[in-house]
Symmetry: C2
Subunit: 521 residues, 2 copies
């Protein structure tokens, strides 16, 4: 075999996952070889390694995938509590719920996230369709509406989404994380559903007791109008918008520098933007800007300002204006917003620490900003992107930043003296003497059948002490103790774990007594 033949064999064996170093070197000498090419080669080698690595026993790396985590029972107990509060609020506002698959056809997600599309997880092609893990819940929602020709719905959806971002897990940023969305789709009178979304954010953040918060409101049309009247060229609206979006993380000086040095605005234009984006207020500010000589030149801006004014009138009726601020610096990164946008931020000291820490990271557009615990806006064009005839379904929605909220609640639980219970067991069926397993099983069956949450130790002859210890550890409030004497007398000794008080209760009264004593719990 000559040298060229030899190469050909190697090139093809490479395709079969058996490539050695030689052809890799050859590829380098070829023009047009890309980083992606190399990645592919690496992938093959890793695959090969994975196959070889599993011959030995216990060679596993015991870990979860990068950027993901398990939830332990304590975390789950906190998560359940937070979800319940949020779901109750969504239900109070009449929302239904839907669910969509964790992966979508790749093309469903294509062209929806701009730059961030690179963060989408793709599934390996194993024959059949090209699939990607969902990146948010909004695009699958729009796909669902278009596919089922739904023009009216108020729904919530709580599920995990996936982003191949650089995880910053200490700051509560993961590659797998929950989103918690509430959206109202349908052709309605202006600002009524929009105002309800803000009412919902207000209710949830108040009920969760996360401390002081503030909901910033702006409108894409005001931003665009402002850019126009300040003299930003049309084709730079989006990029300047994303620079403005950094204002919650970096100073105006740095933002201005980026506008001038990187994005090519003149100092004068930048300064004019700077004047507007420093403005904050309420309905009064909207009124004032409607009279503003420059701003009022933009039809778009005026439409936005009038809607802000109307929004505040509804927010007033909803009794939430105390926390809402019209803030011209609020930009939000996602492309699909078309009208009102908003973001809720925690403003208490405890959260500010996190904010400082995060300044070291690279500024990122799409991620919820520092301190942000909810965000959303109006997106009237997204469903139309999926409809074969381009029929639009106006939508407005809000996403609760549940992972940040989990983190805060966990820290709170950690700091609190009160123990987080991970089960709801009301009573432990125990015995003080040996050979009473059968009697314990009989009694626990009675309790289960009556709907009482009860446990029994899976030992023939457990020590009373270890049974009591288990109650202390897992916060079980009552112990039903059986002994020869109790069996003879037809009673059970009911012990209150916290006070060590013990009282004999007849078998007939036991269920009622347990219910009575645990009804507040």
């Amino acid at each position: 075999m000559n040298m060229l033949g030899m190469f050909c064999v190697r090139a093809c064996s490479g395709l079969l996952g058996l490539r050695t170093a030689t052809p890799l070197r050859f590829l380098h000498s070829f023009s047009g070889i890309t980083v992606a090419q190399i990645d592919e080669e690496v992938a093959k080698l890793l695959e090969l390694k994975a196959q070889l690595g599993n011959d030995g026993k216990h060679q596993f790396v015991l870990k979860t995938a990068k950027g993901t985590r398990d939830y332990n029972p304590k975390q789950m107990a906190i998560r359940e509590k937070v979800f319940n509060t949020i779901i109750n609020c969504f239900k109070r506002h009449g929302a239904e719920t839907i669910d969509t698959p964790v992966f979508e056809l790749k093309e469903t997600l294509t062209g929806k996230y701009g730059e961030d599309s690179k963060l989408i997880y793709d599934l390996k092609d194993q024959g059949g369709e090209l699939l990607s893990l969902r990146y948010d819940l909004t695009v699958p929602f729009a796909r669902y509406l278009a596919m089922n020709k739904i023009t009216n719905i108020k729904r919530y959806h709580i599920a995990k989404v996936y982003r191949r971002d650089n995880p910053a897990m200490t700051r509560g940023r993961y590659r797998e994380f929950y989103q918690c969305d509430f959206d109202i789709a349908g052709q309605y009178d202006a600002m009524i559903p929009d105002a309800e979304c803000l009412k919902i954010v207000h209710e949830i953040l108040s009920e969760l007791n996360l401390g002081e918060f503030c909901i910033k409101v702006n409108d894409r049309r005001i931003l665009d109008g402002m850019f126009a009247v300040c003299g930003v060229p049309d084709d730079k609206f989006r990029t300047i918008c994303s620079t403005v979006d950094k204002l919650d993380k970096v100073s105006w000086e740095d933002v201005k520098k980026e506008m001038v040095n990187e994005k090519g605005l003149s100092e004068e234009v930048a300064d004019q933007i700077g004047e507007y984006v420093s403005m904050q207020g309420g309905m009064d500010l909207a009124e004032r800007l409607l009279q503003d000589q420059k701003m009022s030149q933009s039809k778009q801006a005026c439409a936005g300002l009038q809607d802000i004014r109307l929004l505040f009138s509804y927010l007033h009726l909803f009794q939430v204006t105390d926390k809402v601020v019209f803030d011209l610096s609020l930009a939000r990164g996602l492309d699909y917003y078309t009208g009102i946008i908003y973001e809720a931020v925690l403003t208490q000291a405890g959260v500010a620490t996190v904010s400082t820490e995060a300044q070291n990271g690279p500024p990122e557009e799409e991620s919820v900003s520092v301190g942000s615990v909810a965000g959303g806006g109006r997106y009237d064009g997204l469903v139309g992107m999926f409809d074969p005839k381009g029929r639009k379904v106006p939508c407005v929605g809000v996403s609760i930043g549940i992972e940040r909220i989990f983190s805060i609640m966990e820290q709170k639980a950690e700091a609190s003296a009160e123990k987080v219970r991970t089960t709801e067991v009301q009573v432990m069926v125990a015995s003080a003497q040996k050979n009473l397993l059968e009697e314990r099983l009989k009694l626990v069956t009675e309790l289960w059948n009556a709907g009482i949450k009860a446990e029994v130790m899976y030992k023939k002859n457990p020590k009373l002490l270890s049974q009591l210890q288990h109650c202390e550890e897992s916060g079980i409030p009552l112990v039903a103790i059986l002994g020869e004497q109790e069996l003879k007398d037809g009673v059970v000794k009911l012990r209150v774990v916290a006070t060590r008080e013990e009282v004999d209760v007849s078998r007939a009264d036991l269920i009622g007594e347990i219910r009575k004593r645990t009804s507040e719990a």
Copy 2:
């Protein structure tokens, strides 16, 4: 450029996703080219196609990925009800809950599912780790225990799992589906946790009202002992076991044929197995087999039979022996079971129809068998596979076949006259006259703030009829109607949708009145 050089260029351009037909043809002439190779080429072309296809607008295929589905609000309402019943039962038995990521390191799943590993979804290598979607919840649970060195836990986990199976969606078989697992890990006295798992299945199936059911029980050690005493060679235990597993779908004649013709057993050996696997009973059968001349020769079988006897004594105390049958034909496919195994089957007529239909499909080992709605068993070796020192954590668990249960509940709801409500709204705030939006918003705010589930139409001047229609359609029981007169009188007209009864209620009493009237709902 000579021909060989030409080929080299093409071979490498192929690697870059630009391969034309020519090199493909060439590859065929090469020995060692596999189907996988071709799949890879196809994948590249599809990828290219996907990239090109997205230039045109509205070229989307509006669908979910093969084998997956959306859940609409009605399905979600049913799903929520079923989950609540199941979770309540798990909690009644003192279970905690955990959650694990939707994907695991590929190597975590490798070597756990035998033949079925081909059904695992892999993620595309985008640089970094090789990842796969979870195939069940048991292997991630074992990984979690080993990783966190947990030796004692009673946990449930309800989450979606992924299998690239041929979907049979009409029969409720999907590629994305829920599993609903309850497991007890820890070193305990024999058969106590095992019996509790069966008690749980009994409680759940009874509460869900799915009709008559039966829980079959067997033990891997009895199966292995039986094979041994019947003269099956050691290395054929697993394959014969999977043939026995088909007995719930095909006749004994067909099973015997497979044993003799395909798996090479003698007629005599097969007939002896046939005798045993036709046996069904309770504790009495275990007693009889312990006396059986042949069976009693196997230590393994005796250990299994003694445990079955003990199990039945506990099941008797748990009051569930009415539904449990010791059935020597129950085999269950999964490799990791080491002791007791069980499976719950619906036995009523309605389900039998589905069962006939399913006989046309290919027999599959790992899927829950026809009519099966729960299954599980003891797996004492799985956690040790993950532990660096091989330390074992004995486990027993059960998985509720929730997708089948959803299907049945949906059919029931479809057949029933009663409408499934998809929201829990108690009252609609409506107006009979124009220009009362502000008053409606004020009132609905009062209700929300008091925790009442309430809705208002997002129109300035909705027609009373359309407001009432919305109530009828979504099952809202009450309407709070505002008019000029009501506002003057300081009352609200409360209308009962079902009876059309109307009553004036003072504003101060409204919340109490709504609570009273909806407290049973």
